[in-house]
Structure formats: structure tokens, C-alpha cells
Point group: C2
Chain length 232, copies 2
DNA sequence: CCTAAGCACTGTTTTAAAACACAAAAGTAG
DNA sequence: CTACTTTTGTGTTTTAAAACAGTGCTTAGG
């Protein structure tokens, strides 16, 4: 674990925020990052840790969660390649307020804090891209706050399933979620107890809105699911 | 209403994010903003509206809220001078996802979108300040999501009272909140029904943690209130 | 001054979801 | 292969908070 990994083209891919950089700047970036790999279940950082740089997820999937008062976790973000994790604390110059755990075998690379600042100072397009990214994330968080507090269990779970589909997409069949979460994670994403996630999932299955086969969730009626989510 | 107002020194005050600008840049800023005043209760923008520029609150107090599924509002932010409202949507290049209403007679000035972009492009310190501001706001939103979903009514209300004290401060006596909200607003801030806000407020008063006199709330035992908030 | 409207407050009922308590299945390690 | 742990699944009880219902107070407007 924590083996060295190599993710050269990850940072400069067309999907990456860094594609606005000049060749020279991209060079600087490539020379200043450390790659590491994590197995499924491993902790990437913990609440309270100090961020050392910008973490880029090159491979795998990561959940970011906060421990609540009753010991119950709330998943506040899910990351897929190519994406960043832990950037909030870095930019706010604070310690992490949440923890990140790999939910699949993953590779990350860390861009040094000072190098990043240099790049931001040298390239306004990068600044604007980061500002936009943060603003969108804030919008997501605000939306989520209202959904999680006001929707009922069915609505919250339906919303989570749609969110997972939007984020990770479908398998080749075009309807099976390309992410395999435990019932507990699904519950922690949707602000409910594990029992209730299991129960509600079964209900959806009985109603033929989804099909469940272990952790494999196939969405049969997206429209129906969206309706359940909207009604709350 | 919507009278023209004058808030020249508001943008360039030492508390403002724009204090990193050069004299020349500050000049550009001052030449390109429109000031308006709103009476208590007036709408500054509505969910779905398109942002035209960066809104700076120069005088007064503003609540920013989202309408939930059951018609119940959730207050997601409270703004005081000198602060910005509606910046999230502007930076994300989206329409507003929340509404802003003045809860006191207020003055705002709007900085044109293109002027703002010019300033961001010319001054990296401004970029960094905006990035930091957004990241802190995102942290606040994440914390809030967990509190509002996991804490019980007493904990949520206690947290809101502490938040109001932190945001708006105290009157001369050093313990009376310098903000006067209706019970409904207090409920919408704390994710509960108005009845429950009233009830819980009375309980706190009976327990001598606070003193209530209409909308005037005096915090008698801050430590106690913090305990209630932490325990959930 | 009187009336209306909105806000503050209280008691009662209902309900959604948590908590609890098991049982069965599926992975995992020895 | 067996024992152990974790995850999944289900039924029951309890509880926190919403919904409902109605009264009094205060403010605003004619």
C-alpha cells in the first residue's frame, strides 16, 4: 500500500482543469507532483489533517465524509478521475474538515502548494477555472443541504441514486450504476440509517423502479426515480 | 424603494476583499458600480434570476434562502456589511439557486461582471482572495449540512443562536444579539417548524440560558449554549 | 377607535424515521 | 473446512418532530 504510482498524463488531460496552462507551465506541474496508490478502504486523509498540496484523483473512486454527532457519517462528496479532492481545505488555508477514503483501488498525485500558487499567479485562466469549480461545488452543497433536510427518505434515496448515475455513469447495459457501494455508504450519502436504506431500496425494487443484485443497482425507470426525488 | 444610494468608500474599505487592489484598479472599480437601496422585506434577487454583477452589501442585513419541497424555506446564508451576496451564481456562471431579501433597510452596489473579470485577470491577489472566500464558504456549507441533518432541534437552534452572535455580534451590553429575526426566520435558519422554534426558545429561556423579549434575544450562558450545540 | 392581519404562543395528535433486536447470508481468515 | 466478522435483511418498538388546531397579542390601516 501507498506504493508509488505514475500518473503523468492525468494532470494535463483535456478533462483536467490544468488544460488552460501553457506548455511551460504544464512542465512545471509535471515536475512537481508525487503519485501514490491506495487500496480499497484506505484512508487518504483524515478530518483535522493539514493539507500539503492539491490532490488529484487519477484512478479509482473516493468518498469524502464528515463524522456527525451520533457517530453517523455523512458523505459530502464523491470523486472520480480526473478530479480533485481536499482542495477546499487547501484553498481556505484550513485543516481538513472531512475525511477521504478510497472506495476502489485508487491512484492520486499531489501537487505542491507553492507550485500551485505560482501557477495561479501566472495564469488568470487557471484562477477563473478554480473560482468557477469552487462556486459550482458550493451550489451543489447548498442544494444538498436543502434536499437532505427537507426531503423524505424515499426522495433522498432516489436523489442519491440519480446523483450516482450522473457522477459515475452506467455500465455497458446503459442502466446499471458504475459504482458499487455498501448499503451503509448509500445510507451515509442519503442521511438515513442503514436499515432504512436497505428497506427503501427493497421497496423501490418491489415497485420495479430499480433491480438489485447485491451491490449492483440497475435503474429500470429513471423518470419514476426523478419523480420520487422531486416530490420529496 | 430602489432609490439610488451612495456607497463610495464601501468597496475600498479595509474590510473589503478589494483592499488588495492598486489605486488605479480601485478607481476602475469605483467608476463602474451602481448603488441601490432596499427597504426591509424587499427582494434583492429571486431564485432563477440571472446575476448581472457582484452585489456588495454596504448597509443593512440580508437573508439568502432556498425554497424547499414543502414550501418551507431554508436560510443558507446571512450577510452583513461589508460583504457580498449572490457571488456564487455569478462565479459559477449559473442563475441564482436561492433568493435574497433585505431583513433591514439596506444599501447595495453592483459591480459589473466584465469589470470584475478584468480585475481578476489583472490582480492575482484578488483571485487568491476570492478563492479563499469561496473555499471558506464551502466549508461553512458542508458543516451546516451535517449539523442540520444530524443534530436534534435543541442543538440546531443553539447552533443558530451562536452563529447569529458570531455573524452580527452583540449590542452594547455585550450579550444581546444585534439582529432581530422573526420566529419564522429563526426556524428557517435552523431547519424546524416555527412552532418548534418558539417552543425551544421558551425552553432555553426557562432554563435561563437566554432571555427573550419579543425579537430581542439575550444570551445569558454562552458556554451552556455551546454545550447544547455540541451535544446535538 | 375599531377591525383586520400577522405574529407569537400552547396543547394535542399523528407520523416518519430512528432505535432496537434478531436472523440469514456472504466474505475473510486461520 | 470451519469459525468469525461483516454485511444484508426484516419485524417491532419508541421517539422526535411535524402537523394540526386554536387563543391571545401586537401592529397597521381605514
Amino acid at each position: 500500500m501507498h506504493k508509488k504510482a505514475d500518473c503523468t498524463n492525468c494532470l494535463t488531460s483535456s478533462e483536467s482543469i490544468f488544460n488552460v496552462l501553457t506548455a511551460k507551465e504544464q512542465d512545471l506541474l509535471k515536475k512537481n507532483n508525487i503519485c501514490t496508490s491506495y487500496s480499497k478502504g484506505e484512508i487518504i486523509y483524515k478530518e483535522g489533517d493539514k493539507p500539503s498540496g492539491l490532490i488529484c484523483l487519477c484512478k479509482g473512486k473516493v468518498k469524502v465524509f464528515k463524522e456527525g454527532v451520533g457517530g453517523r457519517d455523512q458523505i459530502i462528496r464523491m470523486a472520480k478521475p480526473i478530479g480533485f479532492i481536499g482542495f477546499r481545505a487547501l484553498f481556505a488555508e484550513e485543516n481538513y474538515i472531512a475525511s477521504a477514503v478510497a472506495i476502489e483501488d485508487s491512484s492520486i498525485c499531489i501537487i505542491d502548494k507553492t507550485v500551485l500558487e505560482k501557477l495561479i499567479r501566472s495564469n488568470p485562466d487557471l484562477s477563473l477555472a478554480i473560482i468557477k469549480e469552487l462556486a459550482q461545488e458550493l451550489g451543489f452543497s447548498n442544494e444538498r443541504t436543502v434536499s437532505l433536510t427537507q426531503k423524505h427518505i424515499r426522495g433522498r434515496l432516489a436523489e442519491s441514486l440519480i446523483f450516482l448515475a450522473d457522477t459515475f455513469g452506467y455500465e455497458e447495459d446503459g442502466k446499471t450504476l458504475k459504482v458499487y457501494l455498501s448499503r451503509e455508504d448509500l445510507a451515509n450519502l442519503s442521511n438515513m440509517t442503514t436499515s432504512n436504506a436497505i428497506r427503501t431500496l427493497s421497496t423501490f425494487s418491489l415497485e420495479n423502479v430499480i433491480k438489485i443484485d447485491g451491490r449492483r443497482i440497475t435503474i429500470l425507470k429513471v423518470r419514476e426515480l426523478e419523480k420520487i426525488s422531486e416530490l420529496g
